[in-house]
């Protein structure tokens, strides 16, 4: 059960890494392009929200790739996901309390 994955498919990892880095660079490029001033001013606040949405979406996708492949979450024991999952849950609780309710004051 312990460390079965490491040695036998090292080559696959290398391929994975290269693939991931390509995607990461593409996404980086996209996120910069998306941040350019292409949304018509007439969209107003929706335009801003779109900006944020796209920026964060791309960031999350990049983060997911780093975590899954570079940090081996995909290949490692399942329980290690908790080390990311629990903090993320707490973070969302925090943000929820800080913002959602604070702003309806």
């Amino acid at each position: 059960m312990a460390s079965t994955h490491h040695h036998d498919d090292a080559h696959d990892h290398q391929k994975d890494y290269i693939k991931v880095i390509m995607w990461l660079l593409i996404f980086t490029f996209l996120t910069v392009v998306a941040a350019l001033d292409w949304i018509p001013a007439s969209w107003g606040d929706y335009g801003n929200k779109l900006h944020i949405g796209i920026g964060l979406l791309i960031a999350f996708m990049k983060a997911a790739m780093v975590v899954y492949i570079f940090m081996h979450i995909k290949f490692d024991h399942k329980f290690i996901r908790l080390f990311i999952g629990i903090p993320l849950f707490l973070f969302s609780v925090m943000v929820f309390a800080f913002t959602a309710l604070e702003s309806f004051y």
Partner: protein, 609 residues
């Protein structure tokens, strides 16, 4: 699991090599410094935590007594030591208002960050986890040493304001901005010090989690771990997930203090120190309590675990509802993260949020209730032996009930309107922290001292310490509820400028005298410890006939803890098994001799339920 195959292997090893194990660890002589000062041995580190925390208990207690003097006799010179204190603190032996705020701040900070957390987590975590799991040391011994040695400098820095003319931090242990930000350099010291203490805690927590997950001896499944270890495990999670948020808050406050930013400072504050503005003051409170509410459970969960172990041992009875107790711990930890707002009901945050936090806070009383009932269930139909350890454990239950119930008052937001920031809160704090956490810790000290130091504490002195502490504790802190109901605000230097507080002067006087005697009672503990280390009776390996693994190790345990490989066969609380000859069944013993000669007790009975 891979563990089981490893076991078979290990046993072979042990058999074939016989007693060769003496060579492994004791091979090279360790110098004095390596052995006692910069030791990586978890037992030594536990002792270091214990002594440093007891030392700070006295510092914190000394501050408390100065506070009490001022409240009982404002404007009167402190007797005897009054003139010895520095002139920035007192003039003509009389405590100054600015010093009073420093006192209460440092009292709270010292007691929480340098006494209770190091005792509950640092000391017991280090001592109990490897021994109770049947392993030789922590997973990362060097990190462990590092997390202790971060403490002394951190403690010095926390109180470092002592060297500045403005004095030590003076914004309460909660350090709310903007006050904390406009305070002097003492506050900056406090921020850095507490940040470092937090870092040390996190290192410890990471180590505990790794050790508990990775270093259990064969047969020691998660659900065969004693509750102390479970409690420490969950506490470690709270530390790892909570403390960094405090660190973030402190960093931001440090920026505000030192680099002129305004995270917590709104526009145009009318103070002598100028800020650019744009921040929000409540934001700090959110971040602070996001850590500091879980922190109160960091301080109480381990004592709860200790109490469970001690009660089962001395009632000679399995712990009632072992799994329920574990789930209750988990529930407390989880809920602990979503109730922080109950400290902020009156802070001006959105009242809608108050409603949510009120409900979650009240719900957290449920797992606590489960624990209380299970402890009662544990002593029910038991055979309770009264020792200093078990009496402190029983006192824990008694005081925690009171402290918890006062918590329920405050949990109801509308009731909290009136009692918030009054002595009702101070009473609550001390009932849960002194009455709860500290009594639990005392129980643990009396229980494990023989294993830690190889000497039996003097039982007689132990009992005296217990009785005196318990009586004076209640005399000191129970009346504070009444002060609170009378509207007596906390953190005030001279209550008697208010007409409605004048009648409380005699009560404050009474409390002060009780507090002095309470402080005096703690000297008994110190005398007992010092005397025992020097002259105490040698302790047997298993003085309490307890089941858990640490009692299978020699007393005191050598470097590496155990002299033979151990394997766990059952849960930790199999006391008084029907049919068995002894009333206990150590976790390491495969066969339990039965009353009927030659008969082996049916193994299926020993399964942890």
């Amino acid at each position: 699991m891979s563990a089981s195959s490893a076991v078979a292997h290990n046993h072979h090893d042990a058999d074939s090599h016989g007693h060769e194990h003496h060579h492994g660890h004791d091979h090279h002589e360790l110098s004095f410094i390596q052995k006692y000062i910069f030791s990586t041995d978890h037992k030594v580190i536990a002792r270091q935590f214990m002594f440093s925390a007891l030392f700070f208990l006295f510092i914190g207690g000394f501050f408390a007594l100065l506070i009490r003097w001022q409240l009982a006799y404002p404007g009167k010179a402190i007797p005897i030591i009054g003139n010895l204190l520095p002139s920035t603190w007192v003039t003509d032996g009389i405590i100054q208002a600015s010093f009073y705020t420093q006192l209460l701040t440092m009292h709270g900070s010292v007691m929480i960050f340098l006494v209770i957390i190091p005792l509950a987590v640092g000391m017991f975590g280090n001592f109990c986890i490897p021994l109770m799991l049947g392993t030789d040391d922590m997973a990362l011994p060097k990190l462990n040493m590092f997390s202790f040695w971060l403490m002394p400098p951190a403690a010095m820095i926390t109180m470092g304001g002592f060297w500045f003319p403005d004095g030590m931090a003076a914004a309460g242990w909660t350090s709310y901005p903007p006050l904390a930000v406009i305070n002097g350099p003492g506050q900056t010291c406090w921020l850095i010090g507490v940040f470092l203490i937090g870092f040390s805690s996190i290192m410890g927590g990471v180590n505990y989690i790794t050790t508990i997950l990775n270093k259990r001896t064969p047969g020691m499944t998660l659900f065969r771990m004693p509750l102390t270890v479970w409690a420490l495990f969950i506490t470690a999670m709270l530390i790892v997930l909570g403390t960094p948020v405090l660190a973030a808050a402190l960093s931001m406050q440090f920026f505000d203090q030192f680099l002129g930013s305004s995270f917590f400072i709104p526009d145009n504050l009318v103070t002598t120190k100028k800020f650019v503005g744009g921040g929000q003051a409540v934001l700090f409170q959110h971040l602070f309590w996001f850590y500091s509410h879980p922190a109160v459970y960091i301080m109480i969960l381990t004592p709860m675990g200790i109490v469970s172990d001690v009660l089962a041992t001395f009632a000679r009875k399995p712990l009632y509802g072992y799994k329920a107790m574990i789930f209750a711990l988990m529930a407390i930890a989880f809920l602990g993260f979503i109730v922080w707002g109950h400290h902020m009901f009156q802070s001006g945050m959105n009242p809608l949020l108050g409603t949510t936090f009120m409900l979650s806070t009240i719900v957290i009383a449920v797992p606590s209730a489960i624990k209380i009932f299970n402890w009662l269930g544990t002593i029910w139909r038991g055979n309770i032996h009264f020792t200093a350890a078990s009496m402190n454990a029983l006192a824990f239950i008694a005081t925690f009930i009171v402290g918890g119930l006062s918590g329920v008052f405050m949990a109801s937001a509308p009731i909290d309107i009136y009692i918030h920031d009054t002595y009702f809160i101070v009473a609550h704090i001390h009932y849960v922290l002194f009455g709860g956490a500290l009594f639990g810790i005392f129980a643990g000290i009396y229980y494990w001292f023989p294993k830690m130091f190889g000497k039996m504490l003097n039982e007689n002195l132990g009992r005296k310490h217990f009785y005196w502490s318990f009586i004076f504790f209640n005399l000191t802190f129970f009346p504070m509820h009444i002060l609170g109901v009378g509207g007596h605000m906390r953190r005030i230097y001279d209550p008697y400028i208010y007409d409605f507080l004048k009648p409380f002067q005699p009560m404050n006087e009474f409390i002060t005298i009780a507090a002095g005697l309470l402080g005096f009672s703690q000297l008994i503990l110190v005398v007992n410890i010092l005397w025992t280390i020097k002259f105490g009776k040698k302790a047997p390996d298993n003085p309490w006939n307890a089941n858990t693994l640490e009692w299978s190790a020699p007393t005191p345990p050598p470097h590496g803890n155990f002299t033979e490989d151990i394997r766990v066969y059952r849960g930790p609380y199999e006391y008084s098994m029907p049919g068995a000859k002894e009333d206990y069944a150590p976790q390491t013993k495969q066969d339990i001799p039965s009353e009927v000669e030659g008969e082996i007790v049916d193994e299926s009975m020993f399964k942890a339920h």
